[in-house]
Structure formats: structure tokens, C-alpha cells
Symmetry: D2
Subunit: 342 residues, 4 copies
């Protein structure tokens, strides 16, 4: 059994990690920390876990995380970069679900995240944890930067096109819609039910932190810099991301065949039949990205529809998928949940 700890267990990615790990079969959850809620039983804060979890939140200092085989950081940005070093030195592997190690260019990171990086030397060691791209590197990684939710949906959607070299790379468009849980479980006015309910809006059009992450990922695959317009929107869903991707074709290609071929071995990507429209609820609670590819009116513009559960394939599920790779387990162990529909 892999001994696992979770730092920062009071947010949505924390409770989702616990839910998924409970059914994994190969892990022992030894600690869930929270500075603020230390002492409170986890199942008191999250009654959905009553009968499943006996742990109480523990103080990070007293939690003996050093004895874990793996520690997940389900913390706000800026925490893992301060605490990962000592865990890594103690031989503990680390998966950070926040953004601390996602951007290789530390200056770029500091610009978008508005803080100095506490461990720039770790950034170079970190492996970007998108298993559909980086499985080999993840298998031997000590420190994994789990991708953001938007970046997961967008990169998986564009990958086959970029790998195949069939689109113009200077003007990609990613029009993305996210459920409100993507904003986390923190008290803020703009995500209150009466603000976000029955309402739809774009935000961060002039620039969003996930833009450099997506650009970095796509550029690596392309072998050259890509031009991307990224517009995120908030939609009254609890969970779910829908990415609608647009690119200009520069050569004719069997798009459906290309996508099916590209993902035929992927454990956690599902290419829908031609003409489909994936729904966010078809992945609710599950670690899968479903996608469909269209070429409206047989024109030059290819449209990719890509959906994930932002808390699962966009966060906690993908982290477990990375853990499985790091520990030599089947990639989708513990990740075969049937989505909840309706």
C-alpha cells in the first residue's frame, strides 16, 4: 500500500482526492492536513464522507508527512513551493495540484502569479503531469506539477491536430466554459449562488493565468511557439469544463480518423463518434476527457469540443492518474467511476 498524505484538505480538490482515493485499493491515506481546521474530523466538514473516513484534519507541522510515500498538495498557489523541498529531501514524492511548478519560465510564472518563486531550482526538476503527453517522464518523476483544469481540456483537444501538423499555429482559439467549483471553496462575492446562478459571463479576456500554461504545453508539442486566444467563461454549473476549440486547417485530413488513432491507447480520453456533442454531465465525477471533432460546412475551420470534470480529470483524478504512473500501477486504477447522470 502506498502511504499518502494530503496537504490542504478543506477545499474541493482535497475532498475530491479523498473520495477517489477511498476507492483506489492501493493506497493508505495517513494524513489530511489543515492549519485552520486541525482537530476537526474530516467527515464533520464533509458529511458525504461519514462512514468512510475516520481521520481528523491534522496540523501540517505535526503530521509526519515525511513518512508518506507521496504527498498531494491541494493548497492555494504558493504553498507547495515552500514545503515541497523538505519532503523531497526526505524521499517523499510530491504532486502539486496548484500552479507552483507548472511554468518552466520562472519569470513568466512570477509575472502571472504575482509572487516570487520560493524554489526556482525545483521548477526545473518538476514534470508537467499531463499523462497523455508525458507518461514516460511522469513514471520516474519525484515532483509532478498537476496541470490546470482549462489547460487539460484545451491541450487534449488540440494535441492530435498539432502533432499531425495540419493546422495554422498562429491563431488558435480556445473558448472555454467552467463550472463554479473551479473557483474553489473560498468565500468570495462573485461566486455566491445569487451572483453566479442564472448568469453567464466571460472573465479574464485580457489575460488569464492558464494562458501561459496552455501556450507552453502546445508550443512544446508543436516544436515552435503557438499563438493562442483564450477566453474563459463562468457558467452556472457546479462541475464541468467545456472547451470549444477553433483552428484553421492547412491541409485536408480525415479528422475523425486522426482523433481516434491518436487516442486509441489513451486510458482516460474518449473520442466520440462523428457528429457528436459531448455534454459535461457525461463526465461528472469521472476521470475522462470526452471530445468530438467537427468541420462545419466542410470549411477551413476545425472545431473541437472537449469536456472534463474540472475536479477530476481537471484536478484530483488526474493527480491520481499521475500517482499510478509514478508507482507502476495501472494508469486508471481507482479511476473507473461511472459518471453520475442525471
Amino acid at each position: 500500500m502506498i502511504k499518502v498524505g494530503i496537504v490542504g484538505g478543506t477545499g474541493y480538490t482535497g475532498v475530491e482526492l479523498i473520495r477517489l482515493l477511498l476507492g483506489h485499493g492501493g493506497v493508505e491515506l495517513t494524513a489530511v492536513t489543515s492549519r485552520k481546521e486541525a482537530g476537526m474530523p474530516v467527515a464533520e466538514m464533509f458529511p458525504s464522507l461519514r462512514g468512510f473516513v475516520d481521520l481528523a484534519f491534522s496540523d501540517p507541522e505535526s503530521s509526519d508527512l515525511n513518512r508518506c510515500d507521496l504527498v498531494f498538495f491541494a493548497t492555494p498557489n504558493g504553498i507547495a513551493m515552500q514545503q515541497a523541498r523538505s519532503l523531497l529531501d526526505a524521499g517523499v514524492r510530491v504532486i502539486d495540484l496548484a500552479a507552483d511548478f507548472r511554468i518552466s519560465d520562472v519569470q513568466e510564472w512570477e509575472k502571472w502569479y504575482g509572487m516570487s518563486h520560493a524554489s526556482p531550482e525545483l521548477v526545473a526538476q518538476a514534470v508537467y503531469g499531463l499523462p497523455e503527453v508525458n507518461a514516460e517522464a511522469i513514471r520516474s518523476a519525484r515532483l509532478v506539477a498537476n496541470p490546470g483544469c482549462y489547460p487539460t481540456a484545451v491541450q487534449l483537444g488540440f494535441l492530435p491536430l498539432i502533432k499531425a501538423g495540419v493546422i495554422e499555429l498562429d491563431s488558435l482559439i480556445a473558448d472555454c466554459k467552467s463550472g463554479v467549483s473551479g473557483a474553489g471553496r473560498k468565500a468570495e462575492v462573485h461566486t455566491l449562488f445569487p451572483e453566479a446562478g442564472d448568469n453567464f459571463k466571460a472573465y479574464g479576456v485580457s489575460g488569464h493565468r492558464h494562458l501561459p500554461e496552455i501556450r507552453q504545453g502546445l508550443s512544446r508539442v508543436a516544436g515552435q511557439s503557438v499563438g493562442l486566444t483564450f477566453v474563459p467563461h463562468l457558467t452556472p454549473l457546479i462541475r464541468g469544463i467545456h472547451a470549444t476549440l477553433y483552428a484553421r486547417l492547412k491541409s485536408d485530413v480525415d479528422l475523425q480518423g486522426l482523433y481516434e488513432q491518436h487516442y486509441k491507447e489513451a486510458a482516460c480520453v474518449d473520442v466520440l463518434p462523428k457528429g457528436s456533442h459531448p455534454e459535461t454531465r457525461s463526465v461528472r465525477g469521472a476521470n475522462v476527457c470526452r471530445m468530438a471533432v467537427h468541420r462545419p460546412q466542410a470549411g477551413d475551420t476545425v472545431v473541437v469540443l472537449s469536456v472534463i470534470d474540472n475536479l477530476v480529470k481537471g484536478a484530483a483524478g488526474q493527480a491520481i492518474q499521475n500517482m499510478n504512473l509514478m508507482f507502476g500501477l495501472p494508469e486508471s486504477q481507482g479511476l473507473r467511476q461511472v459518471p453520475l447522470l442525471p
Copy 2:
């Protein structure tokens, strides 16, 4: 492996049965019928099941349901009463998730359901499948009438009080709120998103079909006729029932102790700590009834709060709980889903 068939697989209880049976481990799903959708792959109608189910909907006539060990009817009212006889004669056990066998008094049933009963003789044989009351009879039943969603939440909430004989029985009140999936997956105006969304209303105050079912169940336990006012409401949830129950105490009693004691062996009922308020989302997707008991201002009125997922403990999950009892399996096999929160 228990060979299982589902008659009527295109509704919400059908797809939920499939979801839960997929993780059960002791059943083989051999047929899912639909007269209307015969030939369509199940996972095409419900993309959440892609990768899990290879079956197509089959025509009921050609489905060879007679070779099943158990058949679930996830059909509208009035179907099982026509088709159960031949299955039972062939040695197949039957669980009806509709209302055909719930009311012992056939005349009463015909009054509320507005049709003649096709198999009154089967009504007497049927066992009312509320495992927390009828476990012994269910174990040996050939035909189980799976309870309605409201009746499950209401009966489980009142049971300890009635068994203990501590309340007046002539004026019980059940103020119940249901998510919209309780109305089923059929095209109707009043459950459209723009009608039921951002809206709250009572319905059926003058009389609802679940009233005689609840009265029958409570009266059996009480050993006398009970008086009940039942007011159902439609609330903009997808899943979930919240029953708020009121009764007048006639003797002083340790209510918290009473409830904990009553349900201490129950596999699928969770009594919350004193002072709690159960949330519907704390049971989303799970086969559990969570409840709390209150006595506001130490007065004569006891208030019980009882929540279930109407599609699980209120339908498909409870049906599987009954199946487990009928086939000598652990009562909660395949029913240990962690609720999805948020």
C-alpha cells in the same frame, strides 16, 4: 453471478440501476429492454456509460428475460402488473420499481392510480421492499414492491418515534421537497428547465399517490391507523428528497438516543449528531438515508429531517439492497458509493 434483466431502461431509474449494478461485482446484466429504443446501444443514449456497457436496448419480447434470475421493472406504473406473472411462473424473481404492488388494498390502489389492476392476486404475494422494516420477508420474497421515493424518506424518519410509541398518531405532518428527476425522464412542460428552474412550489396538496403508501406503512408499524398530512414540493434540484417531519410528543424521551439505537444496525441509514441538518448533497449518488432529530425550544413538537437521493435510496439503490437480501448477499454490496460533493 446473478443474471439480471432490466425492463424499461431508458428512464432515470433504469440508467441508475445500470450505473450501480456495474460496480456490484455479483451480477451479470444480460438485458435492458425498451420497446421504443430497441436496437440502440445503451451507451449511445447515455454517454456516461460509454466504455462500461456494450449492450443495446432489446425488445422485451425477444429478450429472453425468462432466463434471468431477477428482473427489475423500471417502467411506468401499470406495466409490471401485466408482465410479472409469466416471469414469476418461469421462476424469475421480480422487483418492481413502480407502484403496481405497493398498496395492499387493490381498490385503494385503483382509486389513486386510475386504472384496473391486472394482477390483484399478485399484490397479496408481493413484499413491500423497505429493508429497514421488512428484511426478513424480503429475503424469501419472489416479488418485491420497491417503495416510492417520498415514502422511503418519510417512513424511515417516523419509524423510531412510532415504534417507541412516543407521539400522537392522529396528526403527523410530512412536508417533503423533491428534486425534479423524481418526475422521471418524460417530455412534459412543467418539468422543463425554464419552468422548474429558479422556482419552488407545492403540488398535490389535496392528495398525492404516495399518501396511501406512507399511511399504509406507518399504520402497519403502529398497529393502528395513523393520520397524516403530506405536502410534496418541487425544488430546483436534479436529485434529492428532503423530508421535514412533524409530530407531537406525548411523552418525554431521549430523542437522539432513540434514533441512534433504532438504526444502530442499519446498513443504509445514518443518524447525524444532535443539532445537525442533513443536506441532500451529502447523499448524492449514494444509497443512504441521513437524518437528524430536533425538539425546538424543548417543546412538544418533534422535528425530523430526513434526506435521500430519490434515484438511489429512493429507487435504484434500494432495489439493489432488496436484491442483495433476496440472494443472500451482504445488504450493502455494491452500495458503498461515496456521495459526490460538491
Copy 3:
């Protein structure tokens, strides 16, 4: 034109007051204060008001509220009790939409609201602003305590029964469901979209601040102390309260006739035809309480269904109704909005 000021304009009752006053025709809005947002244009915080309001939030100190004819307090509890005195002394009339002057028994108020009352002497002067009960006193009031949202729906629903003396007064039950805007526009975890969305729960069963207010109002009308169990619930609506009221009849009576007669002159109460079920959306945005009265199975229990928009008849609209009475205007001037449906 009545010169009007609003203290505390950044919450939901504030913006709703502005929306309604814009169409009133008899008022001039001279100041909307906010200590925190002073200087920000009102229409920048609430883009729905673009093109209608040129005011910026002003600092309460510099707002010259003393020159108003009327000041509305749309503030948290505990503000009006500190500031009303000087306004009243300057001849300004005051309507407090918070709870500071609602409870005559100051000790009781201090117990439920957890603070010392800053102006107990004003409590005695204040008129409880439920126009359907107190119209005469309101007309000459200098200080009006605008009722709470739950108390409005509950009192209006019970009034005809109590006035007629046809129910037992020791065991009234008010099972109430509120939309989330009732919790106000403040950053809190439990009203976030992912917490309150697709979720239903009771809260405050052991005691809620609106309980003493309702009891006081009903007891005054009854001429004796009434016994009430009040259970509020949070439902995933933005706006709307649905009160389901239960009482035991002690004499036979034409309930429909009683209700129609009682409210036949009421400008802002609508008694629905026999057998109706009022929906919250039928009052969305409008200053009306719609209700229906039922006697299920012709038994002893009467059930009243009463709906309001918590921000209108439950707050801002009722405040304007009170203002109209205080200034000798038609009671429903500016309050004839057609509800928004769907």
C-alpha cells in the same frame, strides 16, 4: 417629490430599492451611501443600473442625509440603531430594513441578535411595518421597522385564520423555504454556488432570529401567546420564499371564503382560487404575496401556501409600500411590476 436616501446600498436590498424607486415617479433619490465603496458609481457595481442611475456611492458622513425626507437603512443589523436617532431628530423619517426595531422586547432582541441595543428608547416608538396589519400606525410613523422576509410570508398566511379564531394556537407550524439571496450579498462559504446549488437543507431548527418576530406578530393579532414551530430551509433559488403553514382547525369554516374576504381590499396580497399552488416565480420581482388555502382530505389540518419575493414584498418593495403610506401616496404606487416569468 420625496427626497430619499439609502444607507448601505451595496447589498441586495439596496440595489432592489434603487430598481423599484427608479419607477416610482414620486421620489428623488439623493444619496446612496457605502463606507467601503464611496466614490464608485453605483452603476459600475451594478451594471443592470447603467443608463438609469448617475449617482456614486457616497460616504455616510458626507452625504447630508439630514436633508432627506426619508432614509432607508439597507444595512446589516446593528447599524440603524446607532444612526437613526440623529436623523429622526433632524425631522427625517426612517425605515429600517434590518432587524433593529422589529422586536419590542429589547432583552429578547439582545438575546437573539447577540448585541446590546444602542437605542432601546426608539424601539418603543418604532412601528412594525406590515401594512396588511398596521396601515394606520404606519401612516403616522416616524420610524418603521420593516418586517423580515420569513415573517412577512408567515404572518400574512396565518392572519385570516387567527383573526377568525378558527385554529388551535398552541401548535402552529411554519415550514419555510428561502432562496439564497435571503442570506445577503456577503462573502461566505455556505452560500457559494457549489455549496448551495443542487442542494437543499434545513437550518436553524433549534432557533432562528425570525422566530420571535413571527411569534410577536401573531400573538398581537391573536391577543394571546401563540406556540410556533418554525423551520427554515435553504433552496437553490435566487429569489423567493415559499411558506407552507400548518394549523389545526377547531371549527368548521369556509376557508376559501375566509381568505378572499380577509384580503379583498389588500393591494399587495392575492388569494388564489381554490385548489391552487402558488409558485415563487409568479411573484418574481413583484410586491405581492400570493397564497392558497387547503384542507387535505377534509381533515382537521389546514395548509396554507404563501409565496413572496424575499427581496420585494420581503424587503425593498414592502419598504416602499410603507413609504407610500407614510407620505400619503397610493399604497401600491411604483409597485405594479409584472413578475418576470420565466
Copy 4:
């Protein structure tokens, strides 16, 4: 007073027309027809109208619509084309809120709408009722084709760019999100609350009926054929459309200035300050299109965000705006509703 009739008053555009006309001040509503509901009081079907409307639905045959000055068709596609002729011959002006007269190319229309056109000769007479483009023609029109909801949001958003000639016209992208009321008030499974709630999906990517309408409108303004990719999505809103528009700039331009200048005289378009993100709720219930224009990272791609209430500026409100022009009234008479927020 203008004598007005509504054909087909039981849908969402019908009830919204009534709501808005009630506050117009210059019209007399003489008939609301419904073949199916003839005889039922309008306010019985829509209790939001209780106290405002005494009319009952009338049979179209017996409604004497010929005596109206204006008849609105709030019917499904294919009705107005059969009935408009006789009204026009009787001197009645007609505004069709459905699609019958929107597409000039009758063959194109028949292809997309799947029926033969009953009055091709009327198509040529009809004026496309987008007042921000066609005000002059509308003023003298006898027959107005009221634009679709998506086409309104998209055309208003692109207009300033196309008029100014600053974008490439071969690859416009319109990524649009609609609330569910856009699908109308008809019983269908895919718009049930449990289907459309907490769910997000694209639809009609290979081709949607609003595509030729948008292309026609933009091409007329451009003076040449434009290339457009149009992807509609269904989002769990009741009301609201959010169009996110992408185009490639071919010359440098002050975008903010361009938009403010273009719409400075427009009564029903609101250009937000630079950097803004319009929310759908900021137009809820109101006849206004709010928009913002962005140029992310100062690149070649311009992003326009455009929001309307699909039932108001996208349907009933725009129809009244057209009526005002046709009858020489101020363009926004009766259309100054303050949006309902929250």
C-alpha cells in the same frame, strides 16, 4: 392607442410580449389567441399576470384580428407564412417573431426549415427587423421579420467591425451560449430540468438555422459574402444569450472608440467601458444589448462579448422596438425596464 393582437400566446415569447405591452402605455391588447387553450384565462396559465390581464385565450378564427392595427405572431415556424397574407390584405401590419420571413432566399429557407414556403411573394416585402441596421425600412414596413435571438447578439456585436472594414471577412467565429428558454415552452426531453440543469453542451455544430440568417445579415452590411463558423451551446440559464465573437484584424484601430462611436445614438445598445465583461443577468428582463470589445495581448484577434436577454432584445422586446418604429413612437417606449438583478 394601437390595437394589438397576439397569435400564439402560450409560449415564452407570447407571455413576454404581454408583460412588456402591459407597461407600454400606447397599446391596447385586444386578443391573444391559442387554438389549443381557447377559453382559458391568460392569467390562469400564467399566474404572474394575475391582476394585470383579464383576457382569455381566444380561437384564432373568432378573434377578429382583422380589426387590429398590428398583429404579432408568437407562433412556431410555418404559421405566419400561412396567415399573414389575409391580415396584410385587411390593412393590418404584421410582426413575425418566428423565422418565416427572415431569409430572403426562399430555397435556402426551405432547406434549413424543412418545409415549403407558403407565401414566397411576401418574403420579398418583409423587412428584416434589426432596428440598429434597418430603422428606416422598418418605419414604413407592413410586414417585419423579427430577428432570431442568436442573430441579434451576433450581428450587433460584429457590426462596427464590418462597417469599419477592419477585419478579415472569411473566417469570423461566433461562439454562442443560450439559456434554455430559447428552446421554447414545448415538452421535450432534452430541455427537462434534469437534462439541461448542471450541464453544458454544444449543439448543431454542423449547421444551425440561425447560421444562414446571420450570414445574410453580415454579408449585406459587408457588401460581400462573409465566412462564419457558428457554434451554439446550451447553458443552464433560464434567460440570456452570451455571444463571444472572434475576428482577425487587418488594420490597427481604436476598437473602444469605434464601438462607442458606432452605437452612440443607439437606444438599445450599451457599449461597456474598456476591459469590461458583460454578464447576462445585467440585461435580464430588459431590451438592451450590452457589449465589450477586447484585443487580448494586443494581438491580431479581436474578441467581442455581446449579451442580450433572448426573450427581450432577442424576441419580444425587439418586436416592440420594431412596433414603435412602425407607428412613429419613440424607439424605446415601454422598453425602459430596469434589469432584475440578482
